[in-house]
Amino acid sequence: MKLNIKRLKALLAIAVILAASSCTYYNDFEFSRSVFTEDYDFPGLPIYSELGYNTFGMYIDRKVFSSTDSAYPIKIIVNGDTCKFSLNGWYSGGPATLGIALIGFSPEDYPDLIQLNDSIINLDDPNCILTFTQNGHTTVAKKLDVIQGSLHIKQAKKLYIDTEFTRVILSGTIALKTFLFDDPVAFTNGRFDLGVGYENFYNY
């Protein structure tokens, strides 16, 4: 009988450890929504924030490319040794996606994104592949020839709701010069404050 109680305690301890270390599938709907506060100095763009407001925005030349409330502003897809960040928003009257694929970076699950804290990714690096997809009147999905650019993830931090770890917040800035439809364009004043959790992180 004593042995059984010991076994039971051991099993309970293992269960507690597993529960504490595992990722949560909890997704608060309210928190997954976007809080878009417009930046007075940069019309059409959200303010720079690091609070998980689920927004991003940038100018492509003089047009706004920013997140909406209808689609997840970010999806992270890990496939093999490549991790792709898809920024889904609205550009020039239609939905658009900026894809940033990092070869050689393959987080197992979203908590591993913490390692991106205070990191700068050179977007003209050969291991970084950028695509821009626009679904308006026409659909264009094209690998971008990057002239220069960088993605600065200033903050990658854990987010707790009611003291339960639920997602990782990625906040930072992006600037880029590239060719779009064979014209040189600049992505400027880019900022993002995005939550990544069970619902928008894929590894297959």
């Binding site: 608060d28 309210e30 928190f31 929504r33 809080v35 878009f36 506060t37 609070l51 998980g52 407001y53 931090k157 854990k158 987010l159 707790y160 709701i161 009611d162 003291t163 770890f165 917040i169």
Partner: protein, 269 residues
């Protein structure tokens, strides 16, 4: 050490009480000068309610700002209620009166979502967690403050009909000092209630212990019997108000009502 601490608490308590007693002493001082300059008209009991338009104080670490999340957010509300006694005195002639009083003021303000009754919640940041961002789901935050003060009203009564009904305009100045204030958080998960004091201490939002306002009102005075008169007033938006009387939001009176029962000291036929 314990004796010193107790002595300090006693001194602070006496000091605070002394401030409150200043209002009481001032009220009776006003009554005492009437014999020389004014003629006492009546004693009244009054109740006042003012509805207030509100703007959320953004220094509270609340994730969703008012207006930034459509159709699901935006309920901040506040009311100012008062109850008191006053004595009305004629000044110069029967059309002008001045009414010093003593009143208890209750200011309630709250933040909640419009789907509160269906369990709606919002997010309050808990800065006590250094490991990352920590948000607590909250159903409402409420602040209740009580003040004791002296309202002074200047009343002009241009029209009197059959010695029974009169119409008047009033200008009221309130000056009050806080006697208590409490902020409470209703959490989505009752288990989080134990964090309430820590969170409030970290946020450390203080409200203004002094309350003052200046507002006008229009109303009528009705004779119910020889011994009882009734006054009903429509309170207009205030001209001046002290700021930060609620730590949750900034307030602006948009109107209200005032009800008072008067007991005349000289019976008129």
């Amino acid at each position: 050490m314990l004796v010193a601490s107790t002595a300090c608490k006693l001194i602070i308590t006496l000091y605070m009480r002394k401030r409150i007693w200043i209002f009481v002493v001032f009220f009776f001082s006003l009554l005492s000068i009437k014999a020389q300059y004014f003629k006492l008209k009546d004693i009244s009991v009054n109740m006042n309610r003012q509805d207030v338009s509100t703007i959320l104080n953004e220094s509270w670490p609340i994730r969703q700002d008012v207006g930034n999340l459509p159709n699901s957010w935006g309920n901040t509300f506040a009311t100012i209620k008062s109850f008191g006694v006053a004595s009305e005195m004629f000044v110069l002639n029967k059309k002008w009166t001045v009414t010093p009083g003593i009143s208890f003021y209750n200011l309630q303000s709250a933040i909640m979502k419009d789907d509160y009754t269906r369990g709606g919640h919002f997010f309050l940041r808990n800065d006590n967690n250094s490991d990352g961002l920590d948000f607590i789901r909250v159903k409402s935050i409420e602040e209740k403050s009580n003040y004791l003060g002296i309202p002074i009203t200047l009343k002009y009564t241009p029209f009197t009909f059959w010695n029974t009904l009169s119409l008047h305009a009033q200008l009221t100045a309130d000056l009050a000092y806080q006697i208590s204030s409490d902020t409470s958080i209703e959490f989505k998960l009752p288990a989080m209630q134990s964090l309430e004091r820590d969170i409030l201490n970290t946020i450390n939002q203080q409200n203004n212990p002094f309350y003052a306002s200046l507002y006008a009102s229009l109303g009528m005075h009705v004779k119910l019997s020889k011994m009882i008169y009734l006054s009903l007033d429509l309170v207009l938006p205030e001209f001046i108000r002290t700021s930060n009387n609620s730590s949750l939001m900034s307030l602006q009176t948009i109107g209200g009502g005032k009800f008072s029962i008067h007991f005349p000291l000289s019976i008129t036929k």
